[in-house]
């Protein structure tokens, strides 16, 4: 399923609001500052659309709050989402490396048949990839099981597609405008 146009519009609306908030402070600043402000406001707009129902949106809002607290508060003010900033996220899933390594050594000694080895290798690959996915998706470390991770990834991909579509159209239109 592709992002719908209603999602595009909602995102654009929120993003515009964010840009208006940011506008007075970055009128004459450098390109990188502007870019950062644009990107942050877009991120917050995207995350606020979910209204706190998904884990990645909350993690993203928290992450941007560390970079630009003022903007986050302004954009989410008046809605219950402001409480999301202060809400405690679930604890990160931490594995102690020593223990994991020791248990792997023991396991390696036990299973030696060929087909089991192949299955174990495949499982290892999958595990490595899921860890990579956790690194990419915001708040991935906080999701305890794989099912939730995939669900959040789905939602996150849709929001990213919305964001990219809207931004690309605006960039194209702006470029066309300047060319004329």
């Amino acid at each position: 399923m592709q992002p719908t146009s209603s999602m595009n519009e909602e995102f654009l609306k929120k993003w515009q609001m964010g840009l208006q908030i940011v506008r007075p402070s970055i009128d004459n600043t450098s390109v990188s500052e502007r870019k950062k402000a644009i990107k942050l406001s877009a991120d917050i707009a995207m995350a606020s659309l979910r209204k706190g129902t998904t884990c990645w949106s909350r993690a993203l809002i928290q992450k941007t709050a560390t970079e630009d607290n003022f903007l986050v508060r302004q954009m989410l003010s008046g809605i219950k989402e402001e409480a999301l900033i202060n809400k405690r996220l679930p604890k990160k899933v931490v594995c102690h490396r020593k223990i994991v390594r020791r248990s792997k050594k023991i396991l390696r000694r036990k299973t030696k048949s060929a087909c089991e080895e192949a299955a174990a290798k495949a499982k290892k690959l999958v595990k490595r990839r899921t860890q990579g996915l956790r690194n990419v998706v915001p708040g991935g470390d906080l999701m305890s099981n794989d099912v939730l991770l995939l669900q959040e990834t789905l939602d996150y991909i849709m929001s990213l597609q919305t964001q990219v579509n809207v931004m690309r159209s605006i960039v194209d239109a702006a470029e066309a405008g300047t060319e004329q």
Partner: protein
Amino acid sequence: MKMNGGAIEADLLLNCTDMSVLERQRAHLKYLNPGFDSPLAGFFSGSSVIDGGVIDGFLGTDGLNLPMIYGENTVEGDPRLSISPETMTGTRNFKKRKFDTETKDCDGKKKMMMNRHEEEVEEEEKSKITEQNNGSTKSIKKMKNKAKKEENSCSNDSSKVTKELQKTDYIHVRARRGQATDSHSIAERVRREKISERMKFLQDLVPGCDKITGKAGMLDEIINYVQSLQRQIEFLSMKLAVVNPRPDFDIDDIFAKEVASTPMTVVPSPEMVNSGYSHEMVNSGYSNEMASSGYLHFNPMQQVDTTTSDPLSCFNNGQAPSMWDSHVQNLYGSL
């Protein structure tokens, strides 16, 4: 209306023979909680209505209502809106309900298998109220095989044969042919089915994933895709920062050009100004209407007040397509 539809869909799901364990669970839940609304509903379709029995089954993730019924606290410290604790407790609670049926008589169970679906549901509700946690997992198998037997009797399909392992006074254990009755394997099977279901959706979303089979390859593609999207966003925001000196200047500019390119003039309608976009957008009232009309025109799927859009949509149809039009069409026309 919605409740009837849910019940019918649940019935359809139960009567089809090729149902997985997971779908049967969901169908049971759907039948029991017909007015059930999932927070994941927003994820799939924004404001539009969700259709289709299968998608409903997916979105009705296990027992998001059930924690309320059992009064159980969610595991992680986030009771309100998080998905993971609820799904976890949901599956646990669902198993609880199935444990309760173990205490019933075996003859009673046999009778239930012959009876219609409603009675089975009543029994489940009764067991919900008693709320005992006996801890044996063979009853899960029993419930699932009951549903299967139901399907068999309804559809006269003898291909799925249930094998009885033991007949005691207390526990009826029936296993699907060639499958273990272990609680762990059942739980694992459910988990695997959930994961494969979500992978299927991801396959639809990520372009170029049709040919790839297997979890590792799919995950690789997904990671690459997410990273590429993130890089695109960075690049586009950089481009935006370069192209215009002020962040929201482009919108004004674009709409001004749109206004300039059109020969016709439109009487501003008061309803447009009051639409949701007016607050954030632009100073001039006319640009407001252009913005809203742009959205309204290029979005045939969205449910909008047609009364306000009618005087302007014909105007938009008549004009020659400008650059902005084509870009907005790309923005809103693809579905």
